[in-house]
Subunit: 203 residues, 4 copies
DNA sequence: TATGAATGAGGGTTCATTCAT
DNA sequence: CATGAATGAACCCTCATTCAT
């Protein structure tokens, strides 16, 4: 029975991976459930044993990828040994921008959701994985750096939205500034934003 | 002769309005060209005399609405008599947030495009109206206030993206903060951003 | 298990037969896929499970019918016991003309392709059946009669084109001569053509 | 009023020429009446003032082109000064093959009708031009050469069908022999055919 | 569980034809 | 005569979903 379970897990993963490939390469609306099933090597009907419809599998993919994404960034940060708070945020920013540059199809695909929505709906509703939510990691990190952020969740919100939406425009369209420029500008802006939220507690 | 022209204009407007209603109430992909034509009171084939396809009419709608939107805000600003630069930006921010609060379907519809993309593609490509692009208004406004902004277009980009993406999350989902809170936060953050871009020139 | 296969074969045949009926009675361009599916008793979508489009099913029909046609003629020839080469060609000619007379819709339908094109594209590309191509039969027949034909394929080409195109005009329009007359004329002309190709080798 | 007449004639010719260009370059079914009218520089409704529908204009074109075609060949023959009957037929054959080689789109377009059908339906029904039918020219030519052909119309029928149908296969598909080869073969076959019809009278 | 043949509604699009101007 | 906007039937094709096996 462990075997049967394994088999199911394999099929599910196969569907998820295939769907991701197709969504990023051809777009959501140009990908049919037939396509996914065919390339995943299962029958069309089988798809429905695992997912409700195309949007269901999309949500699972976004949740999975976004989580991976932020957690990768965070893991790298820890390896870097950076201890200063602002520096660590900038490190994360660069890491995320670099990763998005190298994976434009992913960016194009999840951009509408690569934002606060990721943390809200995707991660909460669909959570089946065994990962620690990024928000928790973030809060922990604040503490680790010995920084007291007033409303850290809100600050995270602003950072995520700012970075996510400008990255899309810059990386996908190169407009109005290319990714290199974007980095420089964000490095100028983000310290101000952090200061706004850490000064608050002192006021 | 003017009659035929007028008639065409009427039909075109009817299609645009109907499409907007349907797009905002049912979503883009749930709206068919049949629906639009039917409710606009024209034959299906007539649609194709005016627009290439669904995406064509969508672009026209976005261009039109966005233009209206920003120009309304700007017109109000001028009526307000505000002369301080930072204050005027905050006024525009509030105005835009208020307007979006009162028109959630519009926000939901154009949110993916209510961003720098609006200025880039929608407004530039589809421009058939005789309006002044918002960017020009903005540049003029900087001068009028006697403020020297280093790279004003880039600053506008960051402001638009920040406001647009946070507004969506806040207004549509009330998460992680309600619109009232959002305003307060933006009022704290925006002056810092402006300072970053106006200090540059002094440095 | 055999049942499903059988069922599919039945549906496919039903579609082919229905399409043939409609094509011959109404013409290709006046027959829609809807028509075919409807009269074949299957859903429209089902058509596309078996054929790519209207031209695909047409090619299959032509291939099938032509094959049947020539092979019937050849089988009859063998039953006839004729051994003389020229006589056998004339026998085939008569057989083909008789068959076409009795099946005018077929003639009208495939006349544009009842020519060398049949051997080239239709029979070669669409071949899924397990029949021996007519050219091979023809070559074998030359040997069997002990006749050495210089370029037998080319001679076949001329015969097929001559018979096919004159048959169409004569049988369908009775112009400029009726089928009976046509036979007589061909009986006068064909021996000369054969002589031209068998004398070559002697020259 | 001569002017109005002229204008009409111009429009009609413009439609015919445009339709011919489009039919040969894109095919009949891929050419719409809109296309024709647009490129001919007249309004869509105007088309219907001159032709009943697409098939009507096609028939006129075929009649016109075929007539031109054969008459050109005949005119050239007369310029050539050839007096021998068989030679003159071979001259016409070559001339026709050369002309078809140089105008493949025309061949592809009228091939279904470039046969006896041309003389029968197209020329008879649609005749509005002021030309002498080719059959008459041909009969006259037989006399001029002092040759007595038994049933000259029938012989012409066989020649036209043989040349027309083999030319199509050879020139358009190069199969089973290229046009150069075709000429050689026809030069071998045609004298035999002529002999068959001129010997008849002697028999 | 898994299959994949069958469905049929529904989408986008074209275009011959009409008719008021 | 000429126009060209409007029509709407008809077409092709896709695809999510079902269900008998």
């Amino acid at each position: 029975m462990g075997k049967a379970e394994e088999n199911k897990k394999t099929k599910r993963d196969s569907l998820l991976n295939t769907a991701f490939e197709l969504f990023t390469s051809q777009g959501l609306s140009n990908t049919s459930i037939s396509d996914i099933a065919l390339r995943a090597g299962v029958a069309k009907g089988t798809f429905y044993l695992y997912f409700k419809d195309k949007y269901d599998i999309r949500n699972h993919i976004i949740a999975r990828k976004s989580e991976q994404f932020f957690n990768n960034a965070y893991a790298d940060l820890q390896r870097s040994g950076i201890t200063d708070y602002t520096e660590s945020i900038l490190f994360l920013t660069d890491h995320i921008l670099d990763a998005l540059c190298e994976n434009k199809p992913l960016l194009a695909f999840i951009h509408k959701d690569l934002s606060w929505g990721v943390f809200r709906s995707a991660l909460e509703n669909v959570r089946t994985e065994e990962q620690v939510p990024f928000q928790q990691l973030f809060l922990q990190h604040c503490k680790d750096c010995g920084v007291e952020v007033e409303e850290p969740e809100v600050m995270l919100f602003f950072l995520v939205e700012l970075i996510g939406s400008t990255a899309y425009s810059s990386i996908i369209h190169g407009d109005p500034i290319p990714p290199e420029e974007l980095k420089k500008h964000l490095h100028k802006l983000i310290p101000g934003i952090i200061k706004t939220y850490t000064q608050d507690s002192a006021q």
